[in-house]
Symmetry: C2
């Protein structure tokens, strides 16, 4: 069969293979600690469930408007305006089945073949895949370890800029590092964006998934709302990964074009689920805060456990549900210097399943430190402690 050439440029999430391996290992009767999962094992708040069920009973089963129901676009615009210090209206919001569709549609709308896009590496692998699939040239920039958090490697970012650079992807708060960009980083990025006349995909999937302080958005920088499309998702904050509800938020001109893509692609997001989203945003936030409280306890358990391992060091991220410990010393000491060898040895010795640097783009040329990612969204505190204690024995033996 003759397959179209573009399909050879399409990547995937290689983390799914880890998930598959863990399932096989568990099916063989082994106890598996699922630190590889970026999914939540927590219940969706009842406000959302009740709102969606009411809409379903009320017959919201026909097509929704392709850009989303006006009520959801309005409350989302108000919510994001308040947290971002920007004046969005419903004209700036287009609803989609999840946050992820924003990635491909952003590139479809703005990227011509041969143009370059800066994207974070380590980072979510779909950026690189969708840039290449849409004919662009993915150019990575890295992160470096600062005093208490990862920081954008501006040296690698500025070196990567060329006269073909057209777009920038910023993931803030960041998967897999848990990094939160400071206002100073936002200012420096905004300066680059202005000087090079770029447009920006601002992936804020974890914006509300934070444990202390307040998230600050890149789009709060002067002129950046006009140049940015925010990837918004209900998946994390409302534990709604399987519901598929999200939005693209940005300049009306781009939002209208994304809505036109929606007409051609999925028609609309599920109608009654959109009412669930409205109810989640305007309703009582007790259960939403409960999700964050539970994840904070998990983060604390994971960070404490990992830092107690000799040769492992791990920041305490303020956000996301990932930690990205430095395991350079452990890998060297154990002689398991290959990421896949190390990962599989740990899985088979302890049942602890995690992803590594390889699943987030693979090491950059000048990268020497080794990192792995532990997700704590799908595993409770007791199991976190049990699993990491086994992992400690493995690392220190």
């Amino acid at each position: 069969m003759r397959i179209a050439d573009r399909m050879s440029r399409l990547g995937t999430e290689t983390a799914f293979a880890v998930s598959g391996e863990a399932s096989v290992f568990a099916a063989e009767g082994n106890d598996v600690f699922p630190f590889h999962l970026g999914d939540l094992d927590l219940a969706t708040p009842s406000t959302v469930v009740d709102g969606a069920m009411k809409a379903l009973r009320d017959g919201k089963t026909g097509y929704a408007p392709t850009a989303g129901i006006p009520q959801l676009r309005e409350v989302l615009a108000a919510d994001v305006s308040a947290s971002h210090g920007v004046d969005y209206t419903l004209d700036n919001v287009v609803v989609q089945p999840g946050g992820k569709p924003t990635i491909g549609k952003f590139f479809m709308t703005l990227l011509n073949p041969g143009e370059e896009v800066l994207y974070p590496n380590p980072g979510y692998p779909i950026y690189e895949s969708q840039i290449a699939f849409n004919g662009g040239i993915p150019v990575p920039y890295g992160y470096v370890e600062g005093d208490d958090d990862f920081e954008i490697d501006f040296e690698s970012l500025e070196r990567a800029l060329s006269d073909k650079t057209r777009l920038l992807v910023l993931n803030d708060l960041q998967n897999p590092t848990g990094a939160e960009s400071t206002v100073a980083e936002h200012e420096r990025l905004a300066d680059i964006v202005r000087r090079h006349d770029l447009h920006v995909l601002v992936d804020e999937a974890y914006f509300a998934m934070r444990y202390s302080g307040t998230s600050t958005s890149f789009v709060s920088q002067p002129g950046m709302a006009e140049r940015s499309v925010i990837l918004y998702t209900f998946s994390k904050k409302f534990a709604m990964t399987g519901w598929r509800l999200g939005a693209s938020i940005g300049p009306k001109e781009i939002v209208d074009l994304i809505a036109k893509i929606n007409v051609n692609d999925e028609s609309c997001a599920n109608h009654f689920v959109q009412y669930g989203g409205v109810a989640g945003l305007v309703g009582d936030q007790t259960e939403v805060h409960g999700i964050v409280d539970e994840l904070r306890r998990r983060r604390d358990a994971a960070v404490a456990g990992l830092n107690a391992i000799e040769g492992v060091s791990c920041f305490t991220p303020n956000a996301t549900f990932y930690v990205y410990p430095n395991v350079t010393e452990v890998m060297s000491r154990t002689g398991l210097n290959d990421y896949e060898v190390f990962r599989k040895a740990a899985l088979h010795a302890t049942g602890v399943s995690f992803t590594t640097r390889l699943h987030f783009g693979g090491a950059l040329p000048d990268e020497t430190d080794r990192h792995i990612r532990f997700a704590y969204s799908g595993i409770g505190v007791d199991r976190i402690e049990e699993g990491i204690s086994l992992f400690k024995e493995f690392c220190e033996s």
Copy 2:
């Protein structure tokens, strides 16, 4: 703002503009008869609702597998195998948020820029749009009026074939004409497909939406299942347009690639909605048959009313929820020879809102007869009779 070049090739459903006009006219206090809507005003069967709600209560709110839950893929494969005389397994099924996503993903997977695709015109406008968006060259083939149904215009189809022809789109049962291809037509098409080494998108959105007899699929032809991807949707049969649930069914090689696109695009279809789909397929079919019974009554009312108008002739389609009357004589007699002039005059004189040939691709070069489309999916029998009686006065005055 610099928009990507490909966006200039993206089309839309111009019927939405008709919907907008009708809404404005209604908001001005006028009584509108919505014959323009391709949406259903009927309730989703309780089997589906209960199945989805149970899954939601059971916590099916996390990610589903990107190709769909195995249960749904299995029952869908069994269901379609039985009605199509083909041996599909779950490996031949990839679930998506609606039937429509199959269109774009089929072209992404199989179409290289510059290759030609034959598509039906009159037809669903998204085919032409997605062919062009993906860099292909859309080449139309037409339909002609037979004795009691529309038939594929094989003369125009064979004339349209070239050495660049790579793919064929078949919509059977057809929107807007309501046409059902005969087995003889399937045989003739299969012969062309073999001779020209084509692959086929078989849009069967209305396969189960029929009033007598049994639908026969093009993929039942020898060798055609291996060359075809079926667009399957829950939208029509189960009155689930706003739920967004459908599938692509075809060779494993293509299905796997579409699943890989899903990883990059929407991740998965809504998890608990998929259980609703399973329940709809395996559960009691009384309400499903009730939907068809109601639509049959509407079809009969619409066809009888339209054929009672002097200068209008209308087939009685066995399927879909559209009729596509020939209004050549009326348009000529009233002097309203322009489609848009005729449509707007009818709307403003009677409140009867419908779409025309223009919304399904625009007339082909050798096309002289004039047609309009009445959808009866969103309007009950009494209102159909009332509206068409006003339309009759308009046409005969």
